[in-house]
Symmetry: T
């Protein structure tokens, strides 16, 4: 049930939409944390362009998570982006600890970016009927992240 007195969606659509968005929110925040982790711990001859590229991905993921969380709240449901929630429900594999060379980082980051995009696409389909505003938001985010994915996996041999 919406927290507000002027609900945007009917009760059923509201809870299903919120659940789909919350799943993506967790992935996006985790993606931002993991790409920062990679940004700091990459080493080797390709350090510079990878280090810089990953910060662009972080920027996209942070803005996307903020927009998704604010959409969840706008429809009257609480958003949850706390660390413990990330550990419990993120669909991304944990990032390996320590320093890594460029190719290892590129592959690990591509895998996680790809996983985030798959999650977004799975939410887009049902949102077309539930809430076109939320559907449109996720399409915009996916377009940006898939462009980053291309640029990262283009660097694999």
């Amino acid at each position: 049930m919406s927290h507000f007195t002027r609900p945007l969606l009917s009760g059923e659509a509201e809870s299903q939409t919120a659940t789909l968005l919350q799943g993506c929110l967790v992935d996006l925040i985790d993606l931002a944390l993991q790409m920062k982790q990679a940004h700091w711990n990459v080493v080797g001859p390709h350090f510079q362009p990878i280090h810089e590229k990953l910060d662009e991905v972080v920027e996209t993921a942070r803005e996307a998570s903020d927009e998704v969380a604010e959409r969840i709240v706008a429809i009257g449901v609480t958003a949850d982006g706390r660390a413990a929630t990330l550990v419990e429900s993120s669909r991304l594999d944990a990032f390996p600890a320590g320093f890594h060379d460029g190719p290892t980082i590129v592959t690990a980051c591509s895998d996680r970016l790809s996983k985030t995009c798959v999650g977004l696409r799975e939410a887009i389909a049902p949102l077309g009927d539930l809430d076109p505003i939320s559907e449109d938001l996720l399409i915009g985010i996916t377009a940006e992240l898939e462009k980053h994915l291309w640029m990262l996996q283009a660097q694999e041999k």
Copy 2:
């Protein structure tokens, strides 16, 4: 032992410095996540200025965590800012779930900001001998966060 062949600090100073900085790194990243959580879930008559003020704290905490992590790596040690690490070692209490009104948010955020500043001050003292560059970095961060703390707790009755 430093990952790099031109270590900035002797072995002993290096590991102690890295440990102190890593403790603050975890608090700062957790602070950023919690302030965003509050930014999204605040409700009630004072919504607008609290909502905006918290985003400034997030901005400070994010930039600070990036600088601290890059300092850790610069002295040759891996930095760890992954979600599971936050859950294990953050010194901040977990943020309560759900929507909250303004006064509750102000107090909860002031408590966590204060806790982060206490952690930073505890690291500043020993860093004076270990590494003045790191000491100076944390002093700058503390100054900004204590200014935010004043503005937040000035709003309590």
Copy 3:
């Protein structure tokens, strides 16, 4: 019948699309006028953040009305945003005259923003078949206005 010799849509789709857009155009211009009215006449302890927030809503509403009007004309139909047209066909209640305190203003503005969003959603559904370009435009406008709605109604007790 389109004013131009290279019509974008077939005759039927053209007139239905124009009618739907014209209905939203009127609401959006009226919303801008009413939010300015509130921006000027709010008084009381919460004056400052409400006064500023409402100007952001005005900005969104003005840009949205300009884009909707130019879309109507682009498909070859005249757009009508004159004062008398607003009085006749706006779906928003008239704004009460005189000075009002903060809570009264917040509720009055939330009601009118909510009404505008309902009107936009009612136009989005049929536009999906008639003209995806117009549908996409209204989805983007609704996303922004529903975010403003959240921020306004979050301020109600």
Copy 4:
């Protein structure tokens, strides 16, 4: 009687000043709506420079109406810029509906700009004694609008 406890003007001067400013406020808001109407519905070979020029007039009229309304409120009287008020008390002729070619638009807009300037000049004279601050504000607005008027009517044959 001023809404505030620190009135800027004596009671008599206050109500006369407010009445004069309110008359101009209505004309300026109506002018902005009408110039937008013209901006959207002009057609023909001179479309481009007219379309752009009119948006500059809209920008001036909007800023002017905001400053005038805020002046009315600053002296303690409510400002009224609602659509129904425009229809009742604007001194500008209603704008003709539909598409129009360039020369027709230029003449129609010049007439309304001229009418607005005449109204402003009629208010400037008595304001010299009532409130020099308001007089100065209207002089500045008139200077800008008369410059736009020159540029528009210079385009007539």
Copy 5:
């Protein structure tokens, strides 16, 4: 078959999407070249606003072609925007050589802009099922180009 190991689409959707996008890519690049050709070779009393307007169309077409090409590559297929490919597969009529006066240029450019928009709309429909990200991209491009089309054909007598 996608060039990358993490394909965004299934094989069938991938090749159909790529084919539809490649068709639009060629039109958009050709449109940019032709609008530049017109921008240089227009003469007569309306030279200035037409010369400037066409450069805005070029800007839109160039950015659009870059986004479409990068989308093709992102889904793992090579993009082809070479001169010989344009000559072979562009759906736009070749632009007439030499200097032309304003009305001739306006009509010639409107025809080509209209043709490009028709091609984009024909691709949007099937992309709704194949790849909503690409569909959304083309909708955004069409919206901008149809607005330019309005402004150009509004200048015809």
Copy 6:
């Protein structure tokens, strides 16, 4: 007697103008100091918007005092904005020491802003005959300060 060899005003007008401007200069500098005092020492639930609003008043008062002082010197008379001069001749009540809650601050600041505006208006009248350039300068300053006054006193219950 003017310090310069090309005096702007006759001797009589010069000294009367300088005396009127010097009176306003002292008030404006004192106003800036007092609003900063309030900006620092406000506490309570409305801290944030009051804290920010007062800094805008400081900015206006500082720029205004600089322009007034430079006008005094331009007519060939020395300007005096030293602390002891403020204590001796400012027409504003001294600001109360210590921390204060929002409503107390709003009222104290509104009183002082109002006092400054009264002083400016008293100087504007005779300056109309003595020096229209100085009159115009003070009118512009009063307009800005009275707008700030509205926004502050609109916050009183």
Copy 7:
């Protein structure tokens, strides 16, 4: 008689206003040419600050002349800023040819700036009755030029 069909002023006021403005226009354009002449031909130890200061005066004089000329035209009279007109009717003494040291330049420029300001003040008085918009324009210009005059003549011994 006004060139336009919607005259701003009555015939008598129109020609007197235009005559007064035209006199100032000529002085302002001549001032800009002479200050450039001085800007180029100054030599000696104070070269740098004088060279830079004079360019600020040129900037002010150019903008002022453009606004005055556009005001003349706005009221329906042709403006005349041609070289031969300057030679015939400028009230400034011709600038001496050749290189000059700093003190000579400062005095020569102060004399001409002072002369321009006297001319402006002589026009301001009658314009108060003829056209307050033009009066306000000249007051603003005089304020800026008298400030420059102060800064120049303050450099004389």
Copy 8:
């Protein structure tokens, strides 16, 4: 003979270079005055784009005259840009007084721009041997002015 103790050119080259540059300086300043004259006094249906275009020419001519004058002084010779000098030695025909319609203005301005370019080209040839720095400066100026000339004369029937 150079005014400075470190002459850039031998005595012969110095005086010939200065003479060639001084001839262009006069034309460029006169061109700026005449284009402003046209900018103010144009009327008729093509007013807007001509009025704006001419201001770009003024901008180019002003910057060019400043660079040429500073080049003359840099080689140690006084520059002369005073009104009487313009009347005596400008190679441009005087601009006709009064208001003019668009086509008349375009032709009059094209003639004067063309004349200025011819003068520049005549100076470029001998400067190749005398002073390549001055030659390069005039080539850059001519390139810009000939581009403006194209855009102006392209508007003639």
Copy 9:
């Protein structure tokens, strides 16, 4: 024969200059298309810096082609930058289709950049006598492209 009534060059110089510039125009447009083709289709570990560098070359080539085309038109001859013209007369080898790794792309692009520069240098020599303005334009373009060439071929083993 020049299209305009005020030709910049004599008939002979005009046609030779136009022919030389038209040859370079075609190469520059083709270069921009080919570098975009490479920008999209590069893959492998050096993807990121090559992808970005090539966009800078595209930017230079586009601006250069626009300046060359506008120079051709300024001297009164039509410019031709249509796709079919590129295929017929470009002096660059066609770019190979499909994806390519970094070293292949670097060599292919260096070859084409080098070819473009050779063409420009061959035009510069005769233009020295025909039209120094066009010569200077091509020198400036060559300087930029040869700098890009250095940076590209420095990446070859």
Copy 10:
């Protein structure tokens, strides 16, 4: 005793730190007032660079005083920057009244800047133990002011 419930420092350190900062706050505000006084009342051949330089000192002093005052309040103590407090406790000599030539101004300002820096250095030493955040703040301010001091006293003979 701190005004807030989460004190940054122990009671003893808190009051000593506040006392040291308050002493510097008063000097910095007085410095800003005195440098403005000098900025307005300087005359003579070196007017321009001294007038400009002093405004930079004012800017530094104003920002510094704001940061110091906000630090005092952040540790829970009221800050006092009122005119009467300046007169009572500033450690700077009062500035002499009236106009002064350049060398006199430079010496008077250098003396006061030097006095302010001495006061800051005396506070820095004990703050090292009391509160490293405040120590760091004053070090930053002193660095800037000592740089200004160099530039001022470098101008003395």
Copy 11:
């Protein structure tokens, strides 16, 4: 002995501080020259990111040397950054002549950056007692250079 009459430090501290700063000044200027040398002469597949990164180091080193030199002069001692002084007293090894591939450049630059940081750290320790302002300046510089060092040596295998 300080050149100025208001020395910042006692005589002993002054000369020791100046000596320590002068040593770092020489290293920093030499570092800037050497990094530029490397920036120009690097070749091979990693050219682009190394070329760009080194320019950022140059920028840091240049700004740092300027601040250190101005600090030396501010305490009243002459600064020496002439080429012969660099050759005599720089603690960095001379840079090898000629072109070098990426890995060689990265190692050579990392060695020199490391050497500069060691020199700075050796000066920081004694400056803590001599002059905390200078100590703080060098800490800030070291922090930036050590960050660059990390990014460079992270690129070594």
Copy 12:
């Protein structure tokens, strides 16, 4: 012999061009170092404008040296800007050590600027035949430096 496989110049022209450019490179880097030396060590009443002007010369000299060095490398020859090379081959006299008053600094700097310009002009003449791209580069640099030279030597008595 060029380092690259696509040489810009024939072998003979290549080595002569590189030698001429290398001579200017050394002078320009030395000029930048010497002007910084002067910027730091100037004292006396004209300190401020000289201090600022010299930094502009440094800026020009640094950018010029970077462009010249990159041109040398672009034609395939290594550039040498190391400190020892400056000492060996700079054509400028060494700058005198210690503090100097304004007139001494102005003369010393003018001498070195003049020497640099003479060196540039001696290279420009032969480069006209060897490489017009390099010739044009040096002409542009000389133009800027000769303008600075004028402004400096204009300050001599």
